[in-house]
């Protein structure tokens, strides 16, 4: 719980306090007119994101303390608000029935999230997927030096220096000292989910003053429901995606605010948030780009005028997106994925999904494959698939339509329409476009589609059902949640932790890694002979020292790294000995060796001395 208090303090001092100032600043300059926690959060995070980037570039070795100390200025800037009388009055103003209720139910959401993320700290670090560990390693390497270098291979490559959630993680780690695994896999995820929560509330425009339990239930449904849940929950459990998606929802809130009020300040914030979203997760680009595009299209259709200011702002977004992508691409060994378009065919990843869909319980009514085959239209499967994937969302939209007849102005409010069209477009991108070398990343598009479609459904349902929330729609939502949980969600919740890796270190191994951390210089590397063991990507993180070579299942494994690993394996196997081996270890700046069991290599001849051993594990250090 102390972690939660520390993180709340962080949010208050370094996000909401600046956010509050910028909110009032914008109001004073008539840039926007907002109320509530959402704009404070969005503005605070915008400042926080840019501040992090700025300080880490400006003072690589000591960014965190400087960046955080700068926030003292906001105490001065907010001096009027922070006057004791106003603070006390502000606190007392919270003690109204509705405000306390809102706080209570946000708190309830937080507690639910806290429980859901608990699994992330119960499992050992080596049971996490290599790509997750790779992300976590960046938090560690940010700590050790900036820009960070390759943490798994003895190369001189700079690795992804601007990835936002890892930068943020490093900063949080410096401030809170929370244990790394808990910080990154639990609390950063928890924070990102809360950002999603506020983004959702803002977009769906739930009437917070009324029927709060329904509000929480509704959000929880949106969060987890849908037959695409496994991929959705796996992605939600990844801090990068969750944080990026949370920022995206905040950005879209500002975009919608701009559409409703034509306040160009909101559009400016949207543009400022765009690169941050991409620096957290570049695969969210479609979610970022399509809604303003369709909204602009709608705008033109409405024959709005295009004054020079509008054009300038319209050009700002692509510029910001390009800047975000360019900055993201600065990770030297990680390029943006290549794109393969299947104009006359289907993305193989989508075909796999159809196969999976047939086996899952929720396809019974459509019986996708069989029906499409009967109709001699295999492509129909892909038109039917969205209904299968988001059956709850579809039911909510239909229910909303059935409860209340559509307004003469049309089914969907323009913002919702933009989201709906975007979701459909994203779905078509999913079935037509594959991203290589790892086609599985297409799942991002699928998940984004289900989120957007779910958002539209939630907004639709809330809009028409708000008048009968308490007595009627609560039952419907509760039943839908029960049905979903009973049919698949209870099982799928296991995916919130991702697929665990079945690995276990040999006896004494963890202690050996701790010894490395205690005995070696943080700029040096170590080599070990458990390179290909399952979970071996966790060893450098546990030792908090870069490894000279790591196993071969990492997604960032390129040719030079493979060659390097082969050389390391040759040294460990004793086939490369003497001066050649010593030269390589020197070149790789290896200071420590952790060896389990008998070793064919004569380590003493290479200049290493045994300094510690436990069970069959020996630690060798080069004096």
């Amino acid at each position: 719980m102390s972690e939660l208090i520390l993180l709340s303090l962080y949010a208050l001092l370094f996000v909401l306090l600046p956010g509050d100032y910028f909110l009032r600043f914008g109001e004073r300059w008539k840039l926007w007119k907002f109320t509530g926690i959402l704009p404070r959060l969005a503005l605070g995070l915008t400042f926080h994101g840019y501040g992090l980037l700025f300080f880490y570039v400006l003072m690589p070795t000591n960014a965190a303390p400087w960046f955080l100390s700068v926030h003292l200025v906001f105490f001065w800037l907010n001096r009027e608000t922070l006057k004791p009388k106003r603070v006390v009055a502000g606190i007392f103003s919270l003690f109204t029935y509705h405000r306390l209720g809102a706080i209570g139910f946000s708190g309830l959401t937080l507690v639910l999230f806290y429980a859901l993320t608990g699994q992330a700290v119960q499992d050992p670090l080596w049971s996490f997927q290599p790509n997750e560990l790779e992300a976590l390693s960046r938090v560690v390497s940010h700590q050790l030096q900036w820009p960070p270098t390759d943490f798994f291979f003895a190369t001189n490559l700079t690795v992804a220096p601007f990835y936002l959630s890892e930068l943020w993680g490093a900063n949080l780690y410096w401030f809170s000292g929370i244990e790394l695994q808990a910080l990154y896999f639990r609390y950063q995820v928890l924070a990102a989910w809360m950002i999603i929560y506020f983004g959702f509330i803002g977009l769906v425009q739930i009437q917070k003053e009324r029927h709060l339990l329904a509000w929480v239930l509704f959000f929880m449904w949106f969060f987890v429901a849908g037959a695409a849940t496994p991929s959705r929950l796996v992605l939600l459990s990844q801090p990068r995606f969750a944080f990026g998606f949370g920022l995206l929802l905040l950005a879209i809130n500002f975009l919608f605010h701009f559409r409703r009020h034509q306040d160009w300040g909101s559009f400016l914030v949207f543009c400022l948030l765009a690169p941050l979203v991409l620096l957290a997760q570049p695969l969210l680009i479609l979610g970022l780009g399509l809604p303003p595009f369709f909204m602009g299209f709608y705008w033109i259709r409405q024959k709005r005028t295009w004054p020079p200011k509008s054009l300038a702002f319209a050009l700002l977004l692509p510029l910001m997106v390009m800047a975000g992508l360019y900055t993201y691409g600065q990770g030297k060994n990680i390029g943006l994925p290549d794109i393969r378009v299947y104009l006359s065919g289907i993305n193989p990843q989508a075909s796999i999904l159809v196969d999976r869909a047939v086996d899952l319980p929720n396809g019974a009514l459509l019986n996708l494959k069989k029906n499409a085959a009967k109709l001699h239209r295999p492509g129909l499967v892909y038109l039917m698939l969205p209904f299968f994937l988001s059956v709850e969302a579809l039911l909510l939209i239909l229910s909303a339509r059935a409860i209340k007849r559509p307004k003469p102005s049309g089914f969907f409010e323009p913002g919702q329409l933009a989201l709906l069209v975007s979701s459909i477009a994203i779905y078509f991108v999913y079935i037509k476009v594959s991203l290589i070398p790892d086609p599985q990343v297409s799942d991002y598009h699928l998940v984004l589609f289900t989120f957007f479609f779910g958002l539209v459904a939630a907004a639709q349902f809330q809009a028409v059902a708000s008048s009968w929330w308490q007595r009627n729609s609560v039952w419907l939502v509760v039943s839908l949640i029960l049905l979903s949980f009973n049919q698949y969600l209870w099982r799928d919740l296991g995916h919130l932790r991702g697929e665990p890796v079945d690995g276990k270190p040999v006896l004494g191994w963890e202690e050996g890694l701790a010894e490395i951390k205690a005995r070696t210089d943080r700029s040096k590397r170590f080599l070990h002979n458990q390179i290909n063991a399952p979970g071996s990507h966790a060893w450098p993180i546990l030792a908090q020292r870069a490894s000279a070579a790591t196993g071969d299942d990492s997604q960032w494994d390129s040719n030079p790294q493979k060659q390097l690993r082969e050389k390391a394996e040759a040294i460990l196997a004793g086939s490369l000995k003497g001066a050649a081996a010593a030269k390589l270890l020197e070149e790789w700046q290896v200071e420590a060796l952790l060896i389990s069991g008998p070793s064919p290599q004569d380590w003493q001849a290479l200049g290493f001395s045994p300094v510690w051993d436990m069970a069959s594990v020996t630690l060798w250090i080069k004096p």
């Binding site: 299968f388 709850e392 239909l398 059935a402 039952w475 039943s479 049905l483 009973n486 049919q487």
Partner: protein, 642 residues
Amino acid sequence: MELFLTALFPIFFLFLPGLSLAKLAAKRGWIERASFSGLILFGLTFHLYSSLLYRLLATSLGVGIWPYFLAHGVFLWIPLSALAQQKRPWKDWLKTQLFERWRPEQKAIFRVYVALVVVLIAMMRHYLIKPLQYYYGDELFRLSFANFIPARFPPKDFLTYSSQNIHYYSIAEAWTANIGQFSGMPIPELYLHYLVFFHWLLLLVGVIGLLLEGGQSKPLLIFALVLLFFWVHGPAGEQKISHFVFRQNSLALAIMALSSFGIFRFYKSGRYVYFISAILLASLVVGIKTVGIMPLGLLIPAVGLAMFIKKRLSFSKLTLAGMLSLGSILFWYFLVVATPVEGESAYLMFEPRHYWSMAYARRIIEHPMFLYPPIEQFLDQNLGFEPRPFLLPLFYSFEFVLLAIGALWGYQRDERAALDMPGGFLLAGGFLTMMVMTLWRFSISESSTVYFLIFGSWAFNLGVLYLFHRAVPLVRARHALVYVSVILIFALNAYAGQSLRHLYGPGSHVQTSDEEMEAYRILREETDQRSYVYHNQYRQKKFNIPALAERRAVISYLYDGAIFQSKELYLARFAEADRFFGGQMSPKEMQQTLDQYEVDALLWDTQETPPMDLEFAGFVKRIDHPHLKLWLRLNPLAGRTQ
């Protein structure tokens, strides 16, 4: 023509008698204007009682069924007198009866009826009609009863050579015989192809009647609720769906719904005739599928007592109703089910972890039912006793539990309305019946224990439908329709859509070749109805001789733990048949055997035992196929000896 006459049957034998009886009752002030469901309740009760009692009498007097059919001409007096009085063409009268009798607010219900009948016809055409030999063996066995009931009721044993009657559930089969004899449609075809559709229609009338007792609402809502009942049978509901298309069970279910309607009507109107009619009809379930009466075992006495306590029913009428229900149940039980042969007797044994109870706990988990295991585990650890007996029924009817929760939303504005006694008693009766299955098992024929779960669940679902629909006038029907549609679509999409394939019913246990079907045709056409057939397929669960050839068998398959078959007798017959077909008898002994059992035809499956020449015994080979030989006696005995 046969199909047309079959379609006329419900008009002549249910609707017109029902209409006459309702008019008579209304004239005497016993009831007010009866609804359509009320007419069918009266008509079905009258038809089943009159026809069964007539058959009993006719059997002893040796007369046919036609006097009974002709006597129904008396019910034409209503249309004829109406025509005479109003001087209207018959078309007008029919139009009035079929369409204009529906009050304006009920015209929408009429449209619902039409839509649902279309759905049921589609279901019948899609699922129910297949070649006769492909039907489930037990259904063919039950069909056998229908074949022999026209000759006498209860029928003589046709499974083995015996002079005794065979006692087993046969009221559904007697009802089949009524329709078949009236329409001229072959009984196997009628029983296997069309009978379930009849029962579904009766069920439809019962369910809609029940729903309307809760009050008027949107027709679409009634449509959705009926579809929910017909299409969603819960996870692990495959066996239940199969039983939904079994002829006996579907009739028992339809009667359960109609009787419940009658009891609900009595509770609302205080009209005693409905109570008596419902009791009489319900008691017939004992002769259709005894377990089916269980869920009503709470509803009938509880409603009677409630009405007595409310001083809306006198003590004498309550006593009369009690005696009538007990008397009619015992009457039908001893007439139809209780067997004088020394079969095994079944009783319930308390054994909470018996095979079927555990099997269903597993079957539920096999389906997407991810909440069941953790909830069961949690309660098991915290309650200190096994929660399965309570939990399994809840999850077995999961969607209807959700519907019941939805009903609460309507009742939260009017708590007193929730205390609707008949709905609650039907629901509770169903739930308790389901619990019987989880705690007890039959001493023999253990698999029959699942009937408690199946019938209990149907009753529970009916109770929930009624309570939900009753809650609807308190809120907007459109919202209720959304709620039901969401549950219906979700369930169909999750599993129920695929589970509906079980409406095809289980397949046959054994294969029947084209040659065998040809042999059955020859037996039907070239032998006397009273002929005995000796065959060597008695170790297969095959009842084709009495079912499809419509002839008596000297020996048939012995059911494990059957209450209607004497094990000693069958084992002796098996030993004798083994010697006969195994070639261990001398020609003289074979001749004696064939004469002793009055065998007119002999069906020899050469894959069971090698064939033999029977010309010496006065038989001629009618089918000579490598796998099948059919011998017919040159000078048949049937008719000479019986």
